[in-house]
């Protein structure tokens, strides 16, 4: 089985602090990490590899600095790493991103594509599903478990809000997975020792078949009009009082604010 895993480098948003004066995000010095859902996706691929044997290729589109997450993927057990990096991709929105990565996938021989459900910086959860559309593949999103059946099909558990759906997928498909379902393994020491001796293939746009108008800025219909940090809410108050007192307290507060 040949598995492609889409991994993205993102700022570690748990480390992002808010400037108390300006109310803006302080991105300086924030470490970059492999997107958590993607690490979960890599874990799923490696579990399938452990159980059924597979060749795992990680792919990413991003600047040269994304090299470090490719090394991390090697140290966890990935077999091959391709970084799609070209100025032509600058300014890509999710549509142009998914178009480019789908183009990369088309050049590879694969049975399964795994993407994270969502990236913690862009947060759109669009890239995976859009790739499936570009490639004409069936897709299952919000995957929390997957295994290979004896008939060669995949049995996939999909997490819904209040239930889990069990689906059987025939043939090539794309899954988007949840980090919470696949606790990633640690990198191994020997994997780390080897990581920088191996080759991360850096591909330019020329390696894929593309329509110029669908790449980068020109291929991006979404235009960011404005972005601003959400105003911080005032901290709440906690009162430990009886029910009657609580009613009175709330009513008074609402009156104070001229809401009632």
């Amino acid at each position: 089985m040949n598995i492609i895993v889409c991994i993205k480098q993102v700022p570690d948003t748990t480390e992002i602090k808010i400037d108390p004066v300006k109310g803006t995000l302080i991105r300086e010095g924030v470490p970059s990490i492999m997107n958590p859902d993607d690490k979960g996706g890599l874990e799923l691929a490696l579990r399938l590899k452990d159980q059924f044997g597979a060749n795992v290729t990680v792919v990413s589109m991003g600047p040269p600095q994304a090299d470090v997450i490719m090394r991390e993927a090697f140290a966890m057990g990935a077999d091959r790493a391709i970084l799609l990096s070209d100025r032509k991709f600058a300014g890509s929105d999710t549509l142009a991103t998914s178009y480019a990565i789908a183009g990369l996938c088309r050049t590879l021989d694969y049975d399964l594509i795994i993407a994270g459900r969502q990236a913690i910086d862009g947060d759109t959860a669009q890239v995976g599903p859009e790739m499936a559309e570009h490639l004409g593949l069936p897709q299952v999103t919000y995957v929390c478990d997957a295994k290979l059946l004896p008939n060669g099909n995949l049995q996939v558990h999909k997490e819904n809000e209040d239930s889990v759906q069990v689906l059987e997928v025939e043939g090539k498909c794309l899954l988007t997975v949840l980090a919470s379902a696949f606790e990633p393994r640690y990198m191994t020491v020997s994997g780390i020792v080897e990581a920088y001796n191996r080759e991360v293939e850096v591909w330019g746009a020329d390696k894929i078949d593309y329509d110029e108008t669908k790449l980068g800025l020109s291929g991006s219909p979404t235009k960011v009009f404005q972005s601003f940090p959400k105003a911080m809410k005032a901290p709440g108050e906690v009162h430990e009082v009886s029910e009657e007192e609580a009613v009175e307290l709330i009513v008074n507060k609402l009156k104070e604010k001229h809401i009632i």
């Binding site: 640690y186 020491v189 020792v193 920088y196």
Partner: protein, 380 residues
């Protein structure tokens, strides 16, 4: 000169730090309290390759550097000094002498199982009457044709009751003094070999420190390690390497206590402000931070020399001396900054203070480190 971590080291730090935080730290208080050897952690470390970091690939190791190995000891000790010394004694005191002095057969027989963590290693030099004066070995090994017969007792042996392989020093020719001491590889279960009493200790309480008892213990002829009569030299060289490991253990303990104290003093309020805002706190912490960083540079420099194949004996002694004394100072002050809470088991600093003390004692007391440093300094 490059003081920064290499790319490989950065990746390694990312892994070992999250392993320490997620797998080791949650057990630290219990391991101390119950005096429990953390077998499950050792098993996990084995699978990830942490039990064989600087051992070459051809012997089943990970092919990493001494630098990476000591980073592991530091990060583990930062959250649990017991786990740190398990790795340190196993790597520096058992695998290293086999790697450096063993025959090809001995290396192939022992290193793969040790490096994978399937087997744990230990080192037996100290005896009731041979502590700092290690040359006073009373354990004897007699050539009985096809085997060696060992008699005697070793004390205070780290990892002992969980170890499978022991590097043991014994007198093969008393008339030759230190040149009559030889090193042997002894396996658990060899006839006449048993583990004696377990020590109850002040710190590193999860580490199993026991006696080794040899009563007409039969050791195969081929288990002599290195040439006959070279045991003392092997032991001293082994301890040179081990001291870098213990220096990193001390460094880790000091760093762990710093981390806890920074966090606590920012939270704890007295006289209407966080105690971190008092200048006394700030100045003392600044001094401690400076010492911790100085210790780290000494430790890294000693490890770098070992990686480069340069002489490092005095460097290791200076690193251990300074890091151990820094660990003792930082942890004692960490308890002080925590006030009464620091004296209770609710906070880890009291454990860290107890753990720090051993780093001034084993693998050569601080006095011995001074002897080694002065010896080099005044050597003509």
């Amino acid at each position: 000169m490059d003081f920064s971590y290499s790319k490989t080291e950065q990746l390694f730090l990312q892994m070992i730090r999250s392993f320490a935080e997620n797998e080791v730290k949650p057990l630290a208080a219990e391991v101390d309290d119950q005096e429990r050897f953390p077998v499950e952690t050792v098993e996990k470390m084995g699978k990830l390759g942490i039990m064989g970091i600087p051992i070459p690939k051809q012997y089943g190791g990970q092919g990493g550097t001494v630098q990476m190995y000591i980073m592991a000891v530091e990060e583990l000790s930062r959250v649990c000094a017991t786990t740190g010394v398990i790795v340190s004694a196993h790597t520096s005191l058992c695998m290293a002498p086999i790697l450096e002095n063993g025959t090809e057969e001995q290396k192939m027989k022992y290193l793969p199982k040790l490096a994978s963590g399937e087997w744990i290693g230990a080192f037996g030099l100290t005896e009731p009457n041979a502590g700092t004066d290690a040359a006073m070995q009373q354990t004897t090994a007699v050539d009985a044709g096809d085997k060696w017969i060992l008699n005697g007792t070793k004390i205070f042996i780290t990892n002992a009751s969980y170890a499978n392989v022991f590097i043991v020093m014994a007198m093969t020719d008393k008339s030759k003094g230190t040149k009559g001491i030889s090193a042997f590889i002894v396996e658990k279960g060899m006839p006449g070999f048993s583990i004696g009493k377990k020590e109850l200790k002040m710190g590193i309480r999860g580490s199993a420190t026991c006696e080794l008892i040899f009563e007409n213990c039969e050791v195969p002829k081929e288990n002599l390690l290195g040439p006959l009569g070279k045991g003392f030299t092997i032991a001293m060289k082994t301890l040179d390497g081990g001291r870098i490991g213990i220096a990193s253990q001390a460094l880790g303990i000091a760093q762990g206590a710093m981390d806890e104290t920074v966090k606590y003093t920012k939270e704890r309020k007295q006289f209407g402000k966080a105690i971190a805002q008092f200048q006394n706190t700030q100045f003392q912490m600044a001094d401690l931070k400076t010492k911790v960083e100085a210790a780290r540079l000494l430790v890294r420099s000693a490890a770098w020399k070992k990686d480069m194949g340069l002489p490092y004996s005095a460097d290791a002694a200076m690193a251990k001396l300074f890091a151990a004394e820094t660990a003792m100072e930082v942890t004692t002050k960490a308890v002080q900054f925590h006030g009464g809470y620091g004296y209770t088991r609710e906070y880890p600093v009291e454990r860290m203070m107890r753990d720090a003390k051993i780093t001034e004692i084993y693998e050569g007391t601080s006095e011995v480190q001074r002897m080694v440093i002065a010896g080099q300094l005044f050597k003509k």
